[in-house]
């Protein structure tokens, strides 16, 4: 009796706390949507408005007008898809090597890879990496935006761990049936890893889509920039900060990852947590 009342009170308190926390945490996004539909007059009115009077779509048109948003979206898509695919392929192959094979130099090479786990080259070593791009003549190209990020220790670990969790007997059976190691990977392991691959894909995509510093310095021309830089361009675009337009651009930029994230939330959460567990 006492226990159940206490539990009830706890539930009510938790409900209230969650409502408050969610409201505060959603405020920035909610207001961004609201502002993106407000006329300049409404944006500048005091006290600030929570809701737009009507759906003023002009801000969205202006955002596309002020910066080549469509092109930036294309660039970001190319970059994010290429990095995602690259990371998946390299991660699957190397994860498979570490999980299912014994070979000379396994430990040393693994340590070499492990050492890069917390070394985001695009920030820590941005100067030399940039100079290398210059050497390659890759500055202001898709190569510079994609190739350096097509492998990561995280992806290797994720798939290594996943493959380790798949019973060894399966591989033995396949071998007896005459399957080559590559056939085993493609025909058996991959189908068993669908949700893992899906989750990793979202993590990689979000990471790539949201990159900022690297595209900022390595792209030169407007038509090579990415959406994140587009947001900064919008802020700098006019002699007066037109927040309605900036927010409209911001919404356009964040929609792809947010929608993808909401739709595939469960798959993603599982993979993300897996990526953090050690094997």
């Amino acid at each position: 009796m006492r226990r159940s009342t206490r539990r009830k009170i706890n539930v009510i308190l938790a409900e209230i706390a969650l409502i408050l926390i969610t409201m505060v945490a959603s405020m920035p996004l909610f207001l961004a949507v609201s502002i993106s539909f407000q006329t300049p007059k409404e944006v500048f009115s005091y006290p600030p408005k929570l809701f737009p009077k009507s759906l003023y779509l002009h801000n969205y048109a202006s955002a596309f007008d002020l910066v080549p948003l469509a092109r930036l979206i294309l660039n970001s898509t190319i970059m994010a898809v290429a990095i995602t695919l690259g990371k998946l392929v390299t991660g699957l192959l190397s994860g498979y090597a570490y999980a299912n094979f014994e070979f000379k130099g396994k430990n040393i090479s693994f340590a070499t890879l492990f050492a890069t786990l917390f070394l985001p080259a695009e920030t820590v070593m941005i100067v030399p990496l940039f100079l290398i791009m210059r050497k390659f003549g890759w500055v202001n190209t898709y190569w510079a935006l994609t190739v350096p990020f097509m492998a990561s220790a995280t992806n290797t670990f994720l798939f290594r761990q996943h493959f380790k969790s798949i019973p060894k007997e399966l591989e033995d059976a396949a071998r007896i049936d005459g399957a080559t190691p590559m056939q085993f990977l493609i025909k058996i392991l991959l189908p068993l890893s669908k949700s893992m691959i899906g989750g990793a894909a979202i993590i990689n995509f979000v990471y790539a889509w949201n990159m900022y510093l690297w595209p900022l310095i390595v792209t030169m021309e407007d038509n090579m920039k990415t959406v994140q830089i587009g947001v900064k361009m919008l802020i700098d675009a006019e002699a007066v900060n037109n927040w309605g337009v900036i927010m409209a651009g911001t919404i356009v930029v964040l929609i792809p990852t947010v929608v993808m994230f909401l739709v595939l939330q469960n798959m993603f959460v599982k993979s993300l947590v897996r990526s953090g567990m050690k094997g």
């Binding site: 003549g137 202001n140 030169m220 407007d222 700098d236 002699a239 007066v240 900060n241």
Partner: protein, 460 residues
């Protein structure tokens, strides 16, 4: 087609060949057409600029006009971000071996560009081009970009700061809208009167704002006829130390400090021009000091927001020596390493951008100065300035400026870093971390360090 085919056959037939000039003539015609087609192959040049926002379209349209006049040249116009970004990108492109032909570099990048040794000095092109008359250009503008007697780049967009004020709010505060403040002392007094607080004691209207940018410090030093660095502001030799920790510098730092401490001025974050404009346009600040380059835009917005706009010269300390303003903005550099034909095409485009017609268009649509005298004369004769008095303010301010090393502007290799240091000092002062005197002394020490660090590589 058939005729041509027959002609080839007839070449083999010597008899036919000797028979008459008809065929020879035809070959000549064909050759000439081929040559014409070949020479019609467009010369492609790249132009990088840093004029963001609505100016992107303006520059594009200017390039299109050029291409109409020169159908053999194709100009690829790229907006490459802020001045910082553009210089950065140029350096990267030079290293990668694919620099643009023309690039717009900000005033303070001049020494870095010269040290880089990658540009074709404009002077060399002018000397070869008899059709070009530098005498038509404004000496104030040329004086800035001429270093050691040589003009390295072509002045393009030049501006200086002026005082914008809200006449409507002046009237509300009981001030004469036709008497803007002329001295620092008056500025303080006006700012105080124009500051409005609500019942809670919160400020709802500030007296003045300007972007937190070192440029204003530089300008107010010139206004007081004081240099920033030694060796005559770096114009008679590479500067070795900063020299702005003096009475002129202190006067301006103190002004800024007083205005802020008393709550009469609202400050922006570092180099945020838009924010300052926004305070002024939304009538959160009654006065604004900013570049003339926004005159046209601010005038338009003022009208939209229903207030009357006034402009005036920068105020001066009462007893200070009178100097003038420094030409700010940027110039056009032609980068070497391209085929001569392309360099020539780039030169044509640069010349085109500084023609009277283009300069009038640029000036009237933005607020940047025309870099040519005859552009001003033409506009005067057309009565343009009578209709647009705000455009005249900046021009007069420039024309009335004394011309000497101090107002020609400093030449410093490490200028970008010196700017950052001055801005840091201002922010430290405004946040009460340092007194105006200490902040200025600190900035001078740090700036000297940066200058010497820069020079080190060139000492050998």
């Amino acid at each position: 087609m058939n005729v041509f085919h027959d002609d080839i056959i007839s070449v083999l037939n010597l008899k036919n060949f000797y028979r008459g000039g008809f065929f020879v003539k035809k070959v000549l015609v064909v050759l000439m057409v081929a040559l014409a087609v070949l020479s019609m192959a467009k010369i492609k040049i790249q132009f990088w600029h840093a004029m963001g926002g609505w100016r992107i379209d303006l520059i594009k349209s200017m390039a299109e006009e050029f291409m109409k006049l020169h159908p053999d040249i194709e100009v690829d116009v790229q907006y490459t971000g802020s001045y910082h970004d553009t210089l950065n990108k140029l350096i990267a492109a030079v290293k990668a071996g694919n620099p643009p032909h023309i690039v717009q570099i900000y005033d303070i990048g001049t020494q870095v560009m010269i040290d880089g040794g990658i540009a074709v000095p404009i002077q060399d092109l002018i000397d070869k081009d008899k059709s070009f008359d530098l005498g038509k250009f404004m000496p104030q503008v040329l004086n800035y970009y001429r270093v050691n007697g040589k003009l390295y780049s072509m002045p393009f967009n030049s501006s200086n700061p002026i005082l914008y004020y809200n006449k409507t709010l002046f009237k509300k505060a009981g001030l004469d809208p036709n008497k803007p403040p002329r001295t620092f002392e008056e500025l303080l007094e006006y700012a105080k009167k124009l500051t409005v607080k609500d019942a809670n004691g919160n400020t709802i209207q500030y007296g003045i704002t300007w972007p937190l940018h070192s440029w204003f410090f530089e300008q107010f030093m010139a206004v007081q006829n004081a240099p920033l660095v030694n060796n005559n502001n770096g114009r008679t030799g590479r500067p070795t130390k900063a020299v702005f920790d003096n009475e002129a510098g202190r006067r301006f730092f103190r002004l800024w400090y007083e205005l802020t401490k008393n709550g009469w001025m609202i400050n922006t974050k570092k180099e945020d021009w838009d924010e300052a404009n926004q305070y002024f346009i939304s009538q959160k600040a009654a006065m604004l000091i900013t570049s003339t380059s926004d005159v046209a835009y601010i005038a338009k917005l003022a009208k939209q927001h229903g207030f009357e706009l006034g402009t005036a010269f920068l105020p001066r300390p009462k007893n200070a020596k009178s100097g003038g303003v420094v030409i700010g903005g940027a110039s056009l550099w032609i980068i070497g390493g391209h085929p001569q034909k392309e360099i020539q095409a780039a030169w044509e485009f640069v010349k085109f951008l500084t023609t009277t017609k283009m300069q009038i268009e640029w000036h009237t649509k933005t607020g940047y100065f025309p870099v040519r005298k005859d552009a001003v004369e033409t506009l005067m004769n057309e009565g343009y300035y009578a209709k647009h008095p705000n455009m005249l303010t900046a021009l007069l301010q420039l024309l009335l400026s004394v011309q000497n090393y101090n107002t020609n502007g400093a030449v410093i290799g490490a200028f970008p870093e010196v700017r950052q240091i001055i801005e840091d000092a201002v922010e430290k002062m405004l946040n009460g971390e340092m007194s105006p005197e200490d902040a200025l002394a600190w900035a001078q020490k740090e700036a000297t360090k940066a200058i010497q660090e820069y020079n080190e590589v060139y000492a050998y």
